[in-house]
Symmetry: C2
Subunit: 268 residues, 2 copies
């Protein structure tokens, strides 16, 4: 494998663009190929078996782009399909849950850690299981926040409405004395300021996206696969469907223009 | 066809249960079979061709239950697939858009009619086209309200948060002097009180679900297919997948217990 090969980033939709955003910031010399399986989003309501089938299709497509590493920028796929992906692919596979849980375990003072995620991620118990292993002395509380995803997609991320909604989901966590909160959904970094405001200044906010790009950097460095310079890097964006609002939402999540969006058919 | 046969009701998920609810109230003697294609929800982000393919699979499954009429309790399917369904099935097919548009045309005083719906329904232009035909003198404004669906599913339908969100989506419609507003999404009837509060007392709220059950009653009556009495009616609920939160959300939408939920596999 060559250092000049791109990093592949995969999500069921646009959420993984927040992971790509942190990768671009941390590793500005890397080529990237992002694939959003927008034709089949959301994965959160599918069975684990179906999620793995879809994830394998997307991952195999990304390998045709010669990627040197696959980032699974999706909590649902990370919860269900990492072993199957690691077995099927000849390259390293990094999910978002393990790095997020590691960062939370490192930050927590051994008190109460809160996992914030979609109903599917919370119900999967994946963060809870990782934290039992990584921070056996900490207590863990998980909280599903279903309105955070549409708030992020609408771009309503600060002000009265998101504040009231965050207070309703999280107010009791502040009163319970949570010391660390994990943003366990790729949409939630857009609401980080509002979540921090509601939880208060003593609570450490752990962004799984940020933790994942740290893990990617370490892994590439350990394997001598970091791209150090050369021609400006290229960034491709692939989707399985391009819904009307895709570009506007994608650019908000990525924090910069997405360029051309290429449509790919994974059923072929 | 026998009057004793059930009415089939089809939606991509739980939203159509608000249509079933009005049907049960208006036609309390009828047997019903409800099918929610929860494994493939949401349809709103799929292409019209894919929506029609899914709808045909669901409709054909319902015909194996000997239904006498099919209610398409889904705005996306009503927008894209009614001609294909009507051609494929030997029974009458009733969608939600035409009855909703007819009711709006009848209620409006010829001023400004607002269509409230999901981004997909608004972008399809189906209500707008029906109203151009049914109320050629009225002006029409369409407004996508993406947060209304998760608010309805959370059960946050009255109070400060839904009021502020409705004000943000609809406040300018009140100032524009809308005289009639169509609830053009099967989730929105749960928010009807909040929507009415924001639009003000002079605005007529048209519920497509209610209008659709009136259309079903007329059609069955005209064909001599109304079930007048006899043994208590039976009500079956079928799903293609049963997500964790399904039952709680379904009962809120239906306004009564859903009983046993039967899992069906439409890919077989």
């Amino acid at each position: 494998m060559r250092a000049d090969a791109p990093i592949g980033v995969f999500d069921s939709g646009v959420g993984g663009l927040t992971v790509l955003r942190t990768l671009l910031r941390r590793l500005p010399n890397e080529h990237t190929v992002y694939l959003g399986d927008t034709a089949r989003v959301p994965y959160g309501t599918r069975s684990g078996e179906v999620v793995t089938r879809y994830a394998l299709l997307s991952a195999r497509h990304l390998t045709t782009h010669g990627i040197k590493l696959l980032v699974v920028a999706c909590n649902t796929v990370s919860a269900h399909s990492l072993p199957a992906l690691a077995q099927a692919l000849p390259i390293p596979v990094v999910g978002v849950i393990e790095p997020g849980a590691q960062a939370a375990a490192a930050r927590s003072s051994g008190g109460l850690i809160a996992i914030l995620g979609t109903p599917a991620t919370v119900a999967s118990g994946s963060y809870q299981a990782a934290l039992r292993r990584l921070a056996p002395l900490a207590s863990v509380v998980a909280r599903a926040c279903p309105l955070f995803v549409p708030l992020a997609e609408e771009g309503w991320v600060t002000g009265e409405i998101p504040h009231l909604i965050a207070e309703r989901y999280l107010g009791d966590l502040r009163r319970m004395g949570v010391d660390t909160a994990v943003l366990g959904c790729t949409h939630y970094p857009l609401l980080a300021a509002t979540i921090a405001e509601v939880l208060g200044p003593k609570v450490a906010i752990v962004d799984s996206a940020e933790a994942t790009s740290v893990a990617v950097e370490s892994l590439l460095e350990a394997q001598g696969l970091l791209r150090e310079g050369g021609a400006p890097p290229t960034h491709r964006t692939l989707c399985t469907d391009v819904p009307d609002r895709f570009r506007a939402i994608a650019e908000r999540f990525l924090g910069r223009p997405v360029g051309d969006v290429e449509l790919v058919d994974l059923t072929a």
